[in-house]
């Protein structure tokens, strides 16, 4: 009998309205708040806050860190997915768990661990000082902390998909005489490109938006080691609220573009992915 497993229309409508109300009040309103606060003192003030030299330095640094981190984690993520999805070896489950581990570690701890290693009183601190190498409170520290927090994104998008696809196509290509690199480029890559792109997008969004981990290793030198999220904090603490929200609006736009692109990619693959 149709309708036996459906709710009465009035219940359906009230549940839908309640869900939409939660979504709007709880999720949409904070997003609107960013743009409303950014433009409160007008478009010119917002533009000025973004064009100001320290803000531009922060934008550059954020782009630089992402430009280093995202390719490294992409190559390594693809390698990990290839090894885990296409081969069988003991300890595979442990490896997957270790790759996902950074997601369960507080961003502050992700920064802390690199201070413990490379800070002035860190394990390698004295050696680094002797050789005049600066890691924490400088670009390498920002890169390492960001590598840690964005470590799982690409691998975890690819592993389930590549496991599902199996290795028949690749084995056929090998039988036909293709080299390893040819197999990857001609067979595997076309099969995984949308999931790969989705993983890269998420990795990039997190790399540009990371706050806790980089805050610990940055040292907050204005115009030098401040990424965009750290610049937002400084402006906010100096009560330059409109300026803080103007820079925040840039990052919010990045989040919106990421979400839209991810939605498009998902409609391509027809595959739902969980948030990381």
């Amino acid at each position: 009998m149709m309708g036996a497993t459906e709710e009465a229309p009035w219940i359906r409508w009230s549940l839908t309205l309640a869900a939409l109300a939660v979504l709007c009040l709880f999720l949409l309103l904070p997003l609107l708040m960013v743009f409303s606060e950014a433009l409160r003192r007008g478009w010119d003030v917002a533009m000025e806050a973004i064009a100001e030299p320290d803000a531009m330095a922060a934008v550059h640094l954020t782009l630089l860190v992402a430009a280093i981190v995202v390719p490294i984690n992409t190559v390594c993520g693809v390698a990990a997915a290839w090894a885990i999805a296409k081969f069988e070896f003991p300890g595979r489950a442990v490896l997957v768990a270790l790759i996902e581990l950074p997601f369960s570690v507080s961003p502050v701890i992700a920064g802390l661990v690199f201070i413990l290693l490379f800070g002035a009183h860190g394990w390698f601190g004295a050696w680094l000082q002797e050789h005049d190498v600066q890691i924490v409170f400088a670009l390498p520290g920002l890169v390492l902390a960001t590598l840690f927090v964005t470590f799982p994104f690409v691998a975890r998008e690819l592993i389930p998909l590549m496991q599902e696809q199996g290795k028949d196509e690749e084995e056929a290509a090998v039988t036909l005489g293709a080299s390893g690199w040819q197999v990857f480029r001609r067979v595997t890559l076309p099969n995984i490109r949308w999931a790969l792109l989705s993983g890269v997008l998420l990795c990039n969004a997190r790399a540009m938006g990371e706050f806790g981990a980089v805050s610990v290793v940055s040292g907050h030198v204005r115009g030098e080691t401040n990424t965009m999220p750290l610049h937002i904090e400084i402006l906010y603490n100096e009560y330059q609220i409109a300026a803080a929200f103007a820079v925040a609006a840039l990052l919010a736009l990045l989040a919106l573009v990421t979400l839209a692109a991810k939605g498009l990619l998902e409609s391509h693959t027809q595959r739902r992915s969980r948030p990381a």
Partner: protein
Amino acid sequence: MAPALPFGITRARSALPGFGPAMGITVLWLCIVVLLPLVALALRPWELGGGGVWAMVTSPRALAALRISFGAALLAAAIDVPLGLLITWVLVRYRFPGRGVADAMIDLPFALPTAVAGISLTALYAENGWIGGLLAPLGIRLAYNPGGIVVALAFVGLPFVVRTLEPVLRDLPRDAEEAAATLGAGRWATFRRVVLPALAPALIAGFGLAFARTVGEYGSVIFIAGNMPMISEIAPLLIVVRLEEFDYAGAAAIGLAMLLIAFAILLALNLFARRLRHGTA
């Protein structure tokens, strides 16, 4: 000519090439970026000696910070479960205009940088904010209070509950619901007796994921929390405070305690979910 592999891993039986290099890159990358740093976290606290670590972790300020972080994360996850269930139910079972946009909105807290979420939630829930202004006459002040921490963590955790429930609810076979209806059960009874037990493991998994991903949150919390020691100071902030005092071992001790408590709670949740699954099977 099998390449030497770490940890005594033998070459996997496969016609495909590339296992050696792929595995080598993976293990090297994992060791440098994740394992070596975490080894430092596990070893550094003991410079204080066993008693010193205990004293650091059980100092009143550290205990209060841990209690606030874990309490707020558990409470936020508990709030996210019913909200997430409502949203997932509507998204999976009903068709309505704007459904696609609503679905995309779910991931917003996940994509929005935490510092942006932090200042925005603070502005929203402050006494002169859009929501805070409505709550203030009722005597509810969330911003700059422990309540603000819960709001921020519930915001960050919601997508994890929804995305965990969604595939399970979508694949839930309708036969059991139809059978219950045929036997005369009302819709509410069917939901409570048939649907909810089937979803229980996923609800617990979503709760655990929301908790795990929010307990260490920093950026979304520190702006709204007020950061009063003993009252609204979260454990990650106390780590930062200790680091600023160059107390590396003390900071590491609190960090290690956070990780260990979090893993213990997740393990307990896992065992609970497993028992539940066996109980209903």
